[in-house]
């Protein structure tokens, strides 16, 4: 069990998301950076559907109310356990009473704190992810608050043995060391997050100059950006004629353009349907990059093909397979020595 010590505004319990209820109006929710969540669970030997805490606002502090193995992934937030520094993408055994502090990350936006066995909140409609709009799932269907006490399911047998062996600490390389970042055309500022986009249904309805600007310009992430969507500021995108669509299903990653011409990238808490025109979709393989993009920073879009979008997904899977193999090797070596 852990106790939240800071006013943890906007921190939520998330797993890989809630599938199969879109037709009831229930969006998927789930981690904004699914890769970081997956690795956190791998580091602890958790099942792939285990939930963790997604933290977007810092500093963030928790106290361990019992001995618990935990893992930190996502943004490098200069973590300390009492006085000791904890590396990012790392798993550590905490002792009862110790305080974990996460500072403001130099790079990245969201940190994932996973606990042995996973965060113990009830499964609702097949997931532990927080459905903020529906006020269910996660921890009481809401953002975490100071004073909340959150349980862990507890270690699986192999993890428990590892903890008993007294050497549970290890880590892996983060995905940006392994995955190639897409290159913008023309080349841009190295600070901007670059994501690949597939044109969507209404792409061809935009003026040529708007389409050119869409790919060429930087997009600023405005303060109204959150888990629902990132509202961007940049050149005005004009359609050749006004578009009013019948409401239809949408998915995280869809880039809608409301009538004033400033795009919104729908994200994990997005509603599962909408009617604003869609200029493109950020490919699933790159959504984690948006999850790590901060308010006030900039985004660039790169046009991609369906085949390249599948290759990007395969590359993500190769990274996760590599992590899984390394973790398995390390665990077995710890248990046999």
């Amino acid at each position: 069990m852990i106790e939240i010590l800071s006013s943890a505004a906007l921190s939520t319990v998330q797993d890989q998301g809630r599938d199969g209820y879109l037709r009831y109006g229930v969006g998927t929710s789930g981690a904004m950076d699914r890769i970081a969540l997956t690795v956190a669970n791998l580091l602890l030997g958790n099942s792939s559907d285990a939930a963790a805490i997604e933290i977007p606002i810092f500093p963030f502090r928790v106290r361990f109310l019992e001995d618990t193995a935990f893992a930190l992934t996502g943004a490098d937030c200069l973590a300390t356990l009492d006085e000791r520094s904890i590396l990012p993408w790392w798993t550590v055994q905490a002792k009862k009473g110790q305080v974990l502090r996460l500072g403001s990350p130099a790079v990245g936006a969201r940190c994932y704190l996973a606990l042995a066995g996973g965060v113990d909140t009830p499964m609702v409609l097949g997931s532990r992810s927080t459905q903020l709009r529906g006020e269910f799932g996660g921890f009481q269907g809401r953002n975490l608050r100071k004073g909340d006490v959150i349980g862990a399911i507890g270690p699986h047998a192999a993890q428990a043995k590892l903890s008993d062996a007294g050497m549970p600490e290890f880590g892996v390389e983060p995905p940006n060391f392994f995955l190639t970042s897409p290159s913008p055309v023309p080349p841009g500022d190295a600070e901007a997050t670059v994501v690949r986009v597939l044109p969507a249904g209404e792409y061809d309805c935009y003026e040529a100059a708007s389409l050119e600007a869409f790919w060429r310009e930087d997009w600023k992430v405005t303060p109204d950006s959150d888990r629902y969507g990132y509202r961007l500021a940049g050149p005005t995108l004009n359609s050749r004629s006004a578009i009013e669509k019948r409401s239809h299903g949408i998915v995280p990653g869809v880039i809608q353009v409301p009538h004033r011409g400033q795009p919104i990238i729908q994200l994990r808490d997005a509603q599962p349907s909408g009617g604003y025109p869609k200029i493109g979709t950020v490919i699933e393989a790159d959504l984690w990059r948006i999850g790590q993009t901060r308010i006030g920073s900039r985004l660039r879009f790169v046009k991609t093909s369906y085949e390249d979008a599948l290759s990007a997904l395969a590359e993500n899977e190769r990274y996760l397979d590599k992590v899984a193999n390394l973790v398995a090797l390390y665990r077995s070596s710890l248990l046999t020595t």
Partner: protein
Amino acid sequence: MTQDKLSEPLRISLLGTTAILFEAPGLLDLHNQRRIWSLAREAETWPGIREAIPGMTNLMLTFDRPPKDPMSLDAALREAWNAAGELALEGKLVELPVSYGGEFGPHLHDVVAYTGLSVDEIIELHVAPLYTVYALGSHPGYCYLGGMDPKLTVPRRKTPVLSLPGGSVSIGGVQTGVSASAGPSGWNTIGRTAMSFFDHERAEPAVLAPGDMIRFRVERVLA
């Protein structure tokens, strides 16, 4: 500002690598919607399809895994649409009392300005039809309704409102609906009602389903 062009062409488009969207040709009417319900029943049985989600005369299919060749799905959707008959779902009827205008309908005057109708005319046109639940979407339990008088057509707002309360009765394009919980919306809110649309503890969590019917009744009108 052009509106829903009444008769639309058939369109099929990809939503990244996670879903495909089928938009039926023709009118936004119950005949087309019944064929969408029929297409949904068929498509949800196809291999690799996670879920079939009806919209307003359209259908989104989400994938378990992205298909290698999405063009084969394109062909399958066209073929299944041509074969789809009208699935007449028989539903229940729910009456919803609505407080129109004032603090409950912050955009009622925008609807007046856009349509040129008076407040009374707008309300009269809004409560007249028996609306059919065409689809659920937007947020847990939210119903998209078919049957609104086209005279009430008002485009979605230039910028979505960041939060509207649950029970908001609103108009977006040629559609009307009632929000099931508080949240952001791009629609024009004209009134409010009290009704619980969703219970996450039930196996069928939504109270209303496609084919159910709603009638609005005037509870009161605020200045």
